[in-house]
């Protein structure tokens, strides 16, 4: 029983990173009704770019590496927008799907090329801190992951609901034509959405690197699939849904890792997706119909 609780709590804490990735997919979907398949790869790419800080300044504290990943993630998000969305007409959904898959492969290969395919160790913070309650422990680095993710989500909510930019973003996601008639520049809002999701992705990638301990290009495909699963389970376009589903998937997979081993756990996450598809295809918090 204690093992079970421990697995659930560790998993839910780590699940905060899945929630961040899920939010990234869902935000882009909400604004453009498109899926950015390159998102998880760009997030991992941002985390790799954060390592450049260590190249410049060998003794840099981990917090600086995280900041580097944050900034690089935003930059990568903007680049993905420019190369995969900006010049492609909105009316051809297959084209942006293919272009972002191409970008996913490109980012993967660039990472493999630059690092010679070797996994890179990633700096962690508070990894020596352990909160204990009897046999039950909470790892300090996982708590940090969770804390940073919660701060990012809160900042995102503030941005969306308390600023003019957030107002414009929500307007575009509801009615792009009407928003345009009100003088909102569509391209600018779209580009900003990619930068914002890129920033979130960069920090998510860094958090994953810090809690796993290493980064490898092998992370991108599972992260893409899990981020998308989180998006579907939460309901496409729903931010609270993505958060809840991210934590759920994190806890769920860690329980199955405990009982069935690390190689089988992802299989059960896919099964969870199909359970949702059969019984609740709209997700936990199905967004009100109006879009797709």
């Amino acid at each position: 029983m204690l093992d079970f609780l421990q697995a659930v709590s560790d998993g839910v804490l780590f699940g905060a990173t899945y929630a961040l990735i899920g939010i990234g997919f869902t935000l882009v979907f909400g604004v453009m009704h498109k899926i950015n398949m390159a998102y998880a790869a760009a997030s991992i790419g941002g985390a790799y770019a954060g390592l450049l800080v260590l190249k410049v300044m060998a003794a840099a504290p981990p917090a600086l590496v995280f900041l580097g990943a944050f900034a690089a993630g935003g930059l990568l998000g903007w680049m993905v927008y420019l190369t995969c969305f900006h010049f492609i007409p909105l009316s051809s959904p297959l084209a942006t799907l293919m272009s972002t898959v191409g970008m996913l492969l490109l980012i993967d290969e660039v990472i493999v090329h630059v690092t010679q395919g070797m996994p890179q160790s990633y700096p962690a913070m508070f990894d020596d801190v352990m909160l204990r309650a009897g046999e039950f422990t909470l790892r300090g680095d996982l708590l940090l992951v969770f804390g940073v993710a919660v701060v990012c989500m809160a900042a995102l909510m503030l941005l969306l609901y308390r600023t003019r930019l957030g107002l414009a973003t929500r307007a575009v996601s509801q009615q792009p034509v009407a928003a345009r008639l009100c003088g909102i520049r569509l391209e600018q809002v779209n580009a900003t959405t990619f930068v914002v999701t890129g920033l979130l992705g960069g920090i998510a990638g860094a958090l994953i690197g810090a809690s796993v301990g290493t980064l490898s290009p092998l992370l991108t495909t599972p992260l893409t699939v899990k981020g998308l699963i989180v998006t579907v389970i939460g309901g496409l376009g729903s931010i609270p849904g993505a958060i809840v589903a991210g934590l759920l998937v994190g806890g769920f997979e860690n329980v199955f890792q405990l009982y069935r081993g690390v190689t089988e756990r992802d299989l059960y996450v896919m099964l969870l997706l199909f359970v949702f598809l059969v019984f609740r295809p709209g997700g936990i918090f199905a967004a009100k119909s109006g879009g797709d």
Binding site: I88, M98, S99, L105, E109, V112, T224, V232, L277, D292
Partner: protein, 288 residues
């Protein structure tokens, strides 16, 4: 000469993969699950010839049935959602199949050595062709006669009432439904036919490479599968064949001299191609 025969074999198998995505795409569904059906067919045919000692032809028939069965079973829940949700569901399914074979052990002793799938190690020694003394040229003719049969089948579908129904669903679901077409039946049947074709393709793939492992059936293969009909256009089956020849013959083999850089170029080329021709190379004209 064997090198070119090998290349023609690869093109044949990938054509089957592309055709399996083609028929699903006709109904307007984008499926990233075709690599999963391909994997199911590969493992099924390999196990039947190696472990059960079947001849290749009935084994390929069985892998078609396996591929079709899995596709039909996946089609029902997955096709409840459409558009981008379907892309996600089928992507997850494809990854699920890959992970299943990553964990799949079933080995039996055969003479001195143990044969059969062994998790991450993969499935070695699928030696039907060398054991029965088939030359590369004969294998090539065998593969292409199956490809020709599949193309003829799809060509006939396209000419028949069934093909019109598929295209009607692809053009406008609502209009198709309003003239009495059962959307679920049409989509699931297209998925099933696609699964059967992918299963046969997988069975052939397992036998010409003699060694399959889970890593070959990744998201890249799924991307290839839908890229062929998208690049080739949906006007008829020959577009898909041309796209396979272009991608496998030129992009993969023709650019081999670039070494490591080829993989980098590949992703960049997809991005560039989609920016320049968002609706495919041959299928640019659509009946409005």
């Amino acid at each position: 000469m064997d090198f070119y025969f090998g290349l023609v074999q690869i093109i044949g198998v990938h054509t089957l993969l592309g055709l399996s995505a083609y028929i699903v795409l006709l109904t307007g569904q984008v499926s990233l699950a075709q690599a999963g059906f391909f994997a199911v067919g590969a493992y099924a045919a390999g196990m039947l010839t190696v472990l059960a000692g079947w001849h290749l032809v009935p084994a390929l028939g069985a892998s078609a049935v396996c591929g079709a069965g899995v596709a039909c079973a996946v089609g029902f829940p997955a096709l409840r959602v459409k558009g981008l949700m379907l892309v996600i569901a089928t992507l997850a399914f494809g990854e699920g199949v890959r992970l299943f074979f990553f964990n799949f052990d079933y080995q039996i002793a055969k003479g001195e050595i143990k044969v059969g799938p062994l998790g991450g190690e993969g499935f070695r020694q699928i030696r039907f062709f060398p054991e029965n003394g088939w030359t590369t040229g004969e294998v090539m003719v065998f593969i292409w006669s199956i490809v020709a049969a599949a193309m003829a089948l799809l060509w006939w579908f396209d000419r028949s009432r069934y093909g019109s129904v598929l295209r009607a669903v692809g053009e406008d679901e609502l209009a198709a439904q309003s003239v009495g077409i059962n959307l679920t039946a049409v989509k699931v049947s297209a998925m099933t036919v696609g699964g059967a074709i992918a299963g046969v393709g997988g069975g052939l793939y397992a036998h010409y490479t003699t060694h399959i492992e889970h890593a070959s059936f990744n998201i890249l293969l799924a991307t290839f599968a839908i890229a062929y009909p998208i690049v080739g256009g949906l006007r008829n089956v020959f577009g898909t064949v041309l796209a396979v020849i272009f991608v496998q013959g030129f992009l993969i083999e023709g650019l081999r001299f670039l070494g490591d850089w080829r993989n980098l170029l590949f992703g960049a080329l997809i991005v560039l191609a989609m920016n320049l021709r968002p609706s495919g190379f041959l299928g640019a004209r659509r009946r409005a």
